[in-house]
Amino acid sequence: MENSSIIQRSIARPEFGPFVLLVVELAVFWGFNHDFLSPQNISNILAFTVELGLIALAMTLLMTSGEFDLSVGSLFGFSPVLMWTLFNSGLTSLEAGFVLALLVAAFIGLVNGWFVTQLKIPSFLVTLGMLLVVRGTALFVTSGFPQRTWSAEGSWLAEALVGDFFIGPFRIYMSLFWFIAAAIALGYVLTQSRTGNWIQAAGGNPNAARARGVNVSGVKIGLFILSSIMASLAGVISSLRTSAANPNSGTGYELEVIAMVVIGGTALTGGRGTIIGTVLGILILRVMRNGIVLIGVPGLAYNIFIGAIILGMMALHSWLERRHQAGT
C-alpha cells in the first residue's frame, strides 16, 4: 500500500514524464550506436549543454513568476561582442570588460522588468523589442563581423569559466561546475526560500500575492535581471570556449531555452516551476540534437523531433494537471 502510494506520487510529479523520456532517449540512441555513450561524446554533449542550460535555469524562475524573456539569445551574442570590443580596443582588461558586459546585461534586464511591471506591457512584446535592440546593436557595433578573440589564452577569467581537465577519459570544462552550482542555488531558491514562495505566488495569483504584501513587481524585475545576467554569462563562456565572438550567435536560442523549460514541467502560464525538470529538459533536447546526428538522421530533421517532443510533453503535463486538479 505504502509502496504503491510512493509510486503514484512519483508518477504525479511533473518531473516524471521528462525523466522517462530522457531514459528512453538514451536507451534508443545507445541501441542504435554504442558510441553514443562513449566518454568523448558525453564530454561533447556536456560542454555545450551547460551554456544553454545556464539560461534555462534562470528562465525557469522567470517563467514560474508568470513572465518570459525573448531577449536572452540576443544577449548571448551581444555580451561577448561587447567584452571583446572593449578589450581589443584597449579600453579595459578582459576581466573588466567581462564585468562591464554583465552590468550592461543587468541594466537590460532592469529595463525589461520595468516595462513589464510598471507600464504593464506583456513580456512577449517588451522582450521581443529588446531582442531587436540588442541584436541590432551587436550587428551595428561589429558591422556584422566576428570579433578577434584569440588573446584570451592564459587569462584567469578564461581558466575559471572554461578551463578544462580530464576526469578519467572525460574532458570536463569548468563551466559544468558553474552550471551545477547555479542549478543547486536556484533549485534551493525556488523550493526552500521565502523568495521562492513569492516567485510562485507572483505567477500563480499576483493579486493575492500583492494583497499579502508581496512585492510582485520587485520579484519580477529581479528575475528579469537574473535572466539577462545568465544569458550574458552563457554567451561569454561560449565565446571563450570556442574562441569566437560572433554578433549573430545565439539566434533562436530563446525558443530553444523556453522549450527546455516547458518540457521539464514548468507551466508557461506561471505559478509552477521545477529546476530538476528543467535540467532534464535541457538534457532531453541536447541529447536529441547530438543523438539524431550520431545515428545518421540528417541534422536538418532535428526540429521535427523537437516539435514532436514539445507537443507530446505538453499533452502529458496537461493530463497530469487535470488529474491533479481533480484531486486524484
Binding site: 526560500s193 523568495t195 500563480g204 495569483n205 494583497a211 504584501g213 508581496v214 505559478g271 481533480a326
Partner: protein, 264 residues
C-alpha cells in the same frame, strides 16, 4: 456606548458621474457578525472595497477603534487588521495550504541570510488551524489549494485571517457556488471566528444564509445605508427583502407577476 471597532462616516465614492456611495454611514462592533445586504448596484461591494483599501474613497472618514485611518492599499488595510476574503482571489492555487497561510510572512529558519522557510513550523501551525476552523477531513497542510473544494478554500482563508489576528474579516459572497454541507461548514467557520474574538462582515445574496449567522443586518440601497440595526431574531426574510427593494409587499408581488407575464 463603547467605540465600535470600525466606523465609516459620510463615505462618498464616485466613478466619473456615477455616485456609487452617497454619504454612507456604517459601523461594526467588536466580536460582531454584520450581514451587509443590498440589491445589485446598491453599493455594498464599493463600500467593502473602500474598507479593504482596494479603491480610494472620494470623501469621508474611516475610524478604527476611534482612531482615524487612511487606507490606501490592501496591505494598509491588512496592517490595520482588516482582512478581505473573496471567493477565489485570496489564495494561490498552485501553493500548498501551509505556504498560502504564511504567504508574505513566512517564518525563517536561522541562519537568516539563507532566507530558508521553516516549513515544519508552517505545517504544524497549519494543521492546528485547520482543526480550529473545523475541517473534519484529515487534509495534510502540504496539499495544494487547487485540489481543495470551494468550502475548504474559504476555511483556509478564514483560518489565515484568524491566525494573523485580523480584527475584522470581510467575507464577500463566501457561500456562492457551494453545496449545502459546505455552506454549513463556512457558516460554522464564521461563528468560530467570532467566538475567538474576531468581527466579521458577511455579504451574501442568499438572505437565508445571512439570517443563520449574523448578529445584525445592515441594508444598502442606491449608495446609502437605509437600515443599520436590524436584529435577525426579530424580523423575517420577507421584511428584509422589502427593505432591500424599497417596495411594499404589493409592489413586490406586482413586480413578480409582471416579470412572469412575458413568459406566460
Amino acid at each position: 456606548m463603547a467605540e465600535p471597532l470600525v466606523r465609516m462616516e459620510n463615505i462618498r465614492k464616485s466613478y466619473g458621474r456615477v455616485q456609487a456611495l452617497v454619504d454612507a454611514n456604517f459601523h461594526v462592533n467588536e466580536k460582531e457578525i454584520v450581514g451587509l445586504l443590498g440589491d445589485n448596484g446598491a453599493g455594498k461591494s464599493t463600500l467593502i472595497k473602500v474598507l479593504s483599501g482596494a479603491v480610494p474613497l472620494t470623501s469621508g472618514d474611516i475610524f478604527i477603534r476611534g482612531k482615524k485611518v487612511d487606507l490606501r492599499s490592501t496591505s494598509d488595510a491588512i496592517a490595520h487588521g482588516i482582512e478581505t476574503i473573496y471567493q477565489d482571489s485570496a489564495l494561490v492555487t498552485q501553493l500548498s495550504i501551509a505556504r498560502n497561510l504564511f504567504l508574505g510572512r513566512e517564518p525563517i529558519k536561522p541562519p537568516r541570510f539563507l532566507n530558508r522557510m521553516d516549513q515544519e513550523a508552517m505545517n504544524v501551525v497549519a494543521r492546528d488551524l485547520l482543526k480550529q476552523v473545523g475541517i473534519s477531513k484529515d487534509i495534510p497542510p502540504t496539499t495544494p489549494i487547487g485540489s481543495l473544494s470551494g468550502g475548504e478554500r474559504q476555511a483556509v482563508a478564514i483560518a489565515r485571517a484568524m491566525h494573523f489576528d485580523s480584527d475584522l474579516i470581510i467575507l464577500d459572497e463566501p457561500t456562492n457556488n457551494l453545496g449545502v454541507a459546505e455552506t454549513q461548514g463556512v457558516l460554522s467557520f464564521v461563528r468560530s471566528a467570532r467566538d475567538s474574538g474576531h468581527s466579521c462582515i458577511f455579504i451574501a445574496h442568499n438572505i437565508h444564509h445571512v439570517f443563520q449567522v449574523v448578529d445584525r443586518i445592515v441594508v444598502m440601497r442606491r449608495g446609502k445605508v437605509v437600515a443599520d440595526d436590524i436584529d435577525p431574531k426579530n424580523t423575517n426574510v420577507a421584511e428584509v427583502e422589502r427593505i432591500i427593494t424599497g417596495m411594499s409587499d404589493k409592489e413586490i408581488r406586482d413586480a413578480i407577476v409582471q416579470g412572469k407575464q412575458p413568459q406566460g
